[in-house]
């Protein structure tokens, strides 16, 4: 038992380390120097690219193994949620609106 716990802690330490290092190194090395203009301009596009890369598969891909599923509750609810966000520019409001719509949708289906 003790040995199992020891192995587990070793695993956790390893996982923690490889999670932490990619989060830390760029902060350490980039936040203290003057970055070239092209790099700043490129970095400027990273957030929109990441958000989009996270949200598209979340809305349009489903199942295991994953397959294209364009018309599903998540993507259908995304349309009014998207419009709500455009119109109100409110993060909190959009989250609540999305949740309510999804809730209504899932109880109707």
């Amino acid at each position: 038992m003790l040995e199992i716990e020891y192995d587990y802690m070793l695993l956790i330490a390893g996982m923690g380390l490889v999670t932490y290092i990619p989060r830390l190194l760029p902060l350490f090395f980039l936040s203290r120097r003057k970055l070239p203009q092209w790099f700043v301009e490129w970095l400027e596009l990273i957030p929109v690219a990441i958000l989009s890369a996270l949200i598209f598969p979340d809305l349009f891909v489903a199942g295991s193994p994953r397959h294209l599923d364009v018309v599903q509750l998540k993507s259908v609810v995304a349309i009014p949620t998207f419009l709500f966000a455009l119109k109100t520019k409110s993060l909190g409001g959009t989250v609540l609106a999305g949740m309510i719509l999804f809730w209504l949708g899932s109880s109707l289906l």
Binding site: P22, P47, L59
Partner: protein, 257 residues
Amino acid sequence: MKESKSMPRIPPGPSVEGQSSQPERSRFEKQERQVCLKEGMRAAWPICIGYIPLGLAFGILAQKSGFDLLDVGIMSAIVFAGSSQFIAVSMLGAGAAPLSIVLTTFAVNLRHILMSSALSVHLNGVSRWFLSLFAYGVTDESFAVNIFRFREGGWHPHYALVVNQAANLTWIASTVLGGYGGQFIAPGSFGIDYALSAMFLCLLVFQLQGWIHLLTAALAGLLATAISILLPGDSFVIIASLIGATMGYAIKRYALE
């Protein structure tokens, strides 16, 4: 009633230099801390709501795979990376070697290099100690919220740290709760499963300033969709965002000239 009428308000003591500076300073710091907490929490709550169903689900899975509450809590506190925790639990269940779990975790979390790089622009001149603390809480969700706030302006690194830590605490608490008795909580209540999707969608809307951003989003999104179907795992996020941002930049830089 009697008290409020008869109690004389004690006037604040004269602030003599040196004598009262200590308590005044600590009062000021306390106020500042409260502002940080308030601002941070106002930004963090959608993340916290979104983490609850995920955390519960993870706790339930971990408990079914034979983890006890302490194991779950330790993993959430030290690793704090939702998708790799799910992967680790299922890999352990399948009898995978620890080294391959660690390597998989590394691959899954490489995408945070990009996020920390983008955040670093806004953390200029912050102490290394603060950066070390901050780095621990860089997740997809806290990144999305903080980068938006930083760009809006007026967002202090301390507020951002509160966002990270609030998300982390919620994550730890909900995973442990899930391991404790998550199966008694009905899934899908109040549309809570949609909180993070709605949050990401809204933050994406906020980022769509101008046609280059729109184009980059479309490229990255379509690529991510295709890659997520073709390749297993989470590599689609980093591959699609790297290619999407590079193509967007190239078009902006060269197609316009």
